[in-house]
Symmetry: C2
Amino acid sequence: MAYTTIDYEALKAFSLHVFEKFGYTPEESAIITSVLLTSDLYGIESHGIQRMALYYRCIQNGRIDLHAKWETVHETPLSAVIDAHACIGQLVSHYAMNRAIEKAKAHGAGFVTVRNSNHFGIAGYYAKMAVEKGLIGMATTNSVPIMVPTYASTAMLGSNPLAFAAPAEPYDFFFDASTTVVTRGKVEVYTKKNEPLPEGWTVDEKGLPGHDAGYILNNINQRLGGGILPLGGATEQLGGHKGYGYGMVSELFSSILSLGLTSNHIDGISPGGICHGFIAIDPHLFGDPDAIKAHFSAFLQELRQSPKAEGQSRIYTHGEKEVEATARIRKEGVPVNEKTIEEMRQICQDLNIDMTSFLGEITF
Amino acid sequence: MAYTTIDYEALKAFSLHVFEKFGYTPEESAIITSVLLTSDLYGIESHGIQRMALYYRCIQNGRIDLHAKWETVHETPLSAVIDAHACIGQLVSHYAMNRAIEKAKAHGAGFVTVRNSNHFGIAGYYAKMAVEKGLIGMATTNSVPIMVPTYASTAMLGSNPLAFAAPAEPYDFFFDASTTVVTRGKVEVYTKKNEPLPEGWTVDEKGLPGHDAGYILNNINQRLGGGILPLGGATEQLGGHKGYGYGMVSELFSSILSLGLTSNHIDGISPGGICHGFIAIDPHLFGDPDAIKAHFSAFLQELRQSPKAEGQSRIYTHGEKEVEATARIRKEGVPVNEKTIEEMRQICQDLNIDMTSFLGEITF
């Protein structure tokens, strides 16, 4: 698939305008745009600006209720449970993590769960919000069912990312990963390349190893059985029950503690349904935040400087790749594929937006 | 290796007596015994009664200070940081999780970290303590370095288990797993069987795939380089960077937030050094605990009843195997291998304990 690169600031101005045209206020549009473009800056194309078209469709078909106002249905000094009433995931999640941060600043820790929401973008965005306030952040979400539990043949859990972030120098610790071995996006890439899937990624509707990317992807999308394996693969030999366990931890802190829908009940058609969980922890709970940050930074440095495997030149700590991708993409532009450009053109046609005035003439 | 089975109550009485002979009070001995035998009941031989000899050696060589009193070095309503002063891991950890539970009962959540401790047994024991009080529990520990980070050739993190437990019917949710693909115990089993290690478990001192179990085990024990891979294996293809990330989360909540030694600085010779983390969360933070428990129980039931992979008859939820193993082992006896029996005999000789009066004549 052909790619173009678009200047980051131009893409941002375009996104701000488009989401306003969808019906969001400038403040709301700024939050949604920030979540999407942070993903692009981190090099995670699947959760970036290419989702704009999905959100547009979801607003049109009612899965996202543009006018919904979320509601806090339970609250304590340390916690809140929010019913999103099917609003867009980014807005309620930004609000929810800010509430968790306020509670952590006031009392040491904050726990906010959200039910009946939509896609919220990358989990790490919200974990990072806490770090920017000097806190430790955690964020998770469930999703439509993707993950096939160990020894099962049907997807019952979502991609269920767990994200953790904590202050460190010169890079904050930032770890955001699906609890499946890979995301659906990776299977899509293999479908486009028409290459067989690696062993240990997926199973078919019989729960047997899946290698035909297009077949598996269709199975997932049409809910015909099978799906993506948990981190650790199909059996206990490489720890598949562990990835399944982390997926369960994600459900616990999203759908279970919000009394929302577990992933197996999210149909991808009805409005809302997705659940999130957000935690902020003040390092003051454990002493001097600067000493803790320095201690963590020293360990991260020792990891990066430790002996490399033969043939490897570098050991990464979590968060480094995102910092480097951000610097590169801010300078070189955001890579956007031709399908996304075509979808953006269609949206602009529908909404009478002059795309060229924002992005110039796009060539591949 | 030959095994015998020993009646659970007889083994418990024996262990209580031995730890008292080591110098612990009856109350202390009961806690240590409870942690060890819970592991045996769960079918995790590596962390059970076979550790008795290790603790005896550690007391003799000073890694465990029998007379040490731990000290709370930082405290807030929600949290505490404890310096164990090299006492036995089980006692300070039992105390620490009880403090976390008290704090959660009083304020909604409790976070206690411990530094300068010793092996604490299975992480899940402490997570389970919270569940027995109706709370959600988490426990983690670091250890001597075992885990080789992605693209590295030297072990820098421990086995770093993360354990989570939450109330559910008919079995509590109980997930306790190392963040390495397997534990050192599994490599020991392959050494004894003289079988090659599966691909994706270990690397040698060059960071290249390791298949010779004895060689790798010696490398780990002598710190000659290499070690066990993170969950997800050697590269990013199967998500090794994710297992490495979970290992980092364990360090964060153990060594970093206690300002203790990170795994790469634990030499396995000096007293203490190991760090733990304990969290308890009251489900009242999120509404009616009974409704949350019922919601979780329903999801766990749906998982168990979902369609099975071809050739599989059962899907487990986390905690089921431990409940079933407990029932079986309480009835049939605790399997103990001949090496452990020999070590127990040696201890009894040293301490003038009549082992036969507790365990009868042992035959294989």
